[in-house]
Each structure stands twice: as C-alpha cells, then as structure tokens.
Amino acid sequence: MLPLALRREEDFLEQRVDASNPPEEPHASLGSLLVSFLKLGASSFGGGMAAWTYREIVERRGWMTDENFLQTQTIAQILPGANPVNLAVYIGLKLRGLPGAIIATFAMVAPAFTVIILLSTVYRQLSAYPETHSVLRGLACVGIASTLTMGMKTARRLHGQTLPILIALSVFIMVGVLRWPLVPVVFASIPPSVLISYLLGRDKKHG
C-alpha cells in the first residue's frame, strides 16, 4: 500500500494523463508509428484509407479503442485537410504528441508523394507523344467522374432538406460558375449554414 498522500498524487497524475492522452499511449514507439504509417501510406491506392487505418491501429497494433478511433475518424473528416492525412496527424498526436503527429503524417504522405513524383517524371519523358495527352484526358474524365460521384454521395447527407440544398447550390454557383474566390465564399457561407443546421436540428427535436 502506498501512503495516502502519494496515492493521491498518483491518482491526480493518472487523471491528467487520462484527460490529455488515451491509456493506450505507452505501446506506440515513434519507430513503430513510422513503420505502421509508411505501410498505410503505401497501401493508399484506391482509397478506403479509414478501413486500412482501423485495421492497423485498432486491430493489429491495439493502440486505440474502437470508440477512440471512431471519434478520431469524425475529427479527421470534419476538420479541413485530406482525410488520411488528418487521421495520421490526430492518431500520431494522441499516441505520441507532436513528434508522433509529425512522424505519422510524414510516413502517410511520403509513399504517395514518391509515386506521384515518379509518375510525373514518366509523364515528362512521354509528354512528346500525342498518345500521352490523350490517355491523360481519358484519366481526367474518370477523375471528374469520381469527383461528381463523391459530390453526389456527400449530397445524400443533406437528406433532401431545402435550405441546405440551396446553400450547396449557391456555393456551387459562386465558386464554380461565377468564379468568386473560394476562401472568402467558404468563410461567408459557414455561419449561415451552421445556423440553419442548428435551427433545423432544433426543429426536429421539438417537432
């Protein structure tokens, strides 16, 4: 048995640790974070990154609980930035603080960065051939298609509500058709859009 005063201090320390870091923190060394996220970064072909990350971080390494991971995923989706990168930042931060965040993010981006640079080098070598540009135009069509598909999938989350649809439409017109600068449009659209969501959410609760 520890003396009472000492135990209190220990409890206090434990609470503080609990508040800022999840208990699974001690398992993750910076080296193993690097390895895990390099692997994840290299497997980021074709998306589905959240699922791969879940498999590695929760199931294989046991660094996070289910619930913690789900919360992390929501944060990664809602804050600006690419989802897989945000996941790496936040998981690294929770497991090992700032150094963890930097290492996980670097490891997540480095493989894709390398591939994209290699591809662009190949492109430069082949850009003299007319076929290269044709093939890339075809790929751009698929890229646009997947962008539109993603837009439609995200639009389903508007649940057919009139005002949010009008906001989506007006943002599209301002940025896509009128070519107004994106950053001010977004900042100006956030307050009314959030307010509308708040009021709609409240209506739903009361009605």
Partner: protein, 179 residues
C-alpha cells in the same frame, strides 16, 4: 522568377488548406482558376494533365499541388507546395482536435458538422465543373465522364479498373488517330 512563382503557389495553398473541408476535391476549382487563369503558372492543357496524374495516383488528391510545385522548381518546389497544403490543416487538427472531440456532441457541434456538408457538396461539384471547363471536354469525353460516373455509382468496382479501362481505350483511339 521561379521564387516568385513558388511564393505565389505557397500563398495560394496556405489559405486553401484551411478551407479544404473534405480534402483536395473541394479546392480544385480554386487551384485551377488561380494557377491557370490568374497566376499563369500552367497552361490549361498542363493543368488537365497534372489533374489526371494526381487522380490516377495513390494518396490524397491534394497532392496535385506537389505536381504544380515540381513544375515550377523541381523537387524542392514539390516539397514546399506539399508542406504548404498540409501544414495549416494539420496544425488546425493539433490545436482544435481534442477540443472538438469534447464539444462535437453538443447541439452546436452537431450543427457545425452538418452545416459544413452543403458547403463541401457545392465546392466538390464546382471543382468538377472547373476542371471540365478548363479541359474543354469534347462530346466523346463528356460521354466518357458520364459513363464512368454511372459505373462508379452503380457498381462496387474501385477506381483503378475504371482508370485502366479508360486509359487503354483512349490510348488505342489515339494510336488509331480517332481522337
């Protein structure tokens, strides 16, 4: 000259990073407009090519800025552009992540989560339009886009088989002199 261009790209990336709700696809409209029409860092043909490469590559579509940076000043241009697009949003996660985790279940937290969705939808579709217009799609290419979109929506096939098929088709048509 190159330094000025690189600075222009960095100054473009940093604010975009902070509003890239949902990732690279939400900011592509602005990237296209700024790099092609305003700052003249790229021709629209180059932009279409780089867009295609970035969409066919693994990893976040945000990495198109690495390609633009590489075009301006090689390897370090790519590194600097990548840092400029990822550091601001990552810093936001570090600063607000835990705070947000505590407050996201409050009524206002939920309202923020839901309120960002329509903005992201508008931006994503605007990005699709910006790239289509910049590329000046032919009727055949519009048909390709619609077919690919239908395929991606209706089937569970991933993007790589679709990219491979369309790439092969366009190669054959181009080699045969049909497009």
């Amino acid at each position: 000259m190159d330094d000025d261009k690189l600075l222009g790209l960095v100054l473009l990336c940093v604010p975009l990073s902070l509003v890239s709700f949902g990732g690279g696809q939400t900011i592509v409209a602005s990237l296209q407009h700024q790099t092609v029409d305003v700052q003249h860092l790229l021709t629209s043909r180059q932009f279409t090519d780089l867009y295609a490469i970035s969409r066919a590559s693994p990893g976040p579509s945000t990495l198109i800025v690495a390609l633009i940076g590489w075009g301006i000043s090689g390897f370090w241009g790519a590194v600097i552009a990548t840092l400029a697009i990822f550091i601001p949003s990552s810093a936001l996660i570090c600063i607000f992540g835990s705070w947000w985790q505590q407050h996201r279940l409050s009524p206002w937290g939920r309202a923020v989560e839901r309120g960002l969705t329509p903005i992201a939808v508008g931006l994503i579709v605007a990005g699709g339009l910006a790239v289509s217009q910049s590329a000046g799609l032919s009727l055949f290419e519009i048909a390709t886009t619609l077919a690919a979109a239908a395929f991606l929506t209706l089937t569970r096939v991933g993007p790589y088989p679709v990219l491979g098929t369309v790439g092969a088709l366009y190669f054959c048509l181009s080699a045969a002199g049909k497009i």
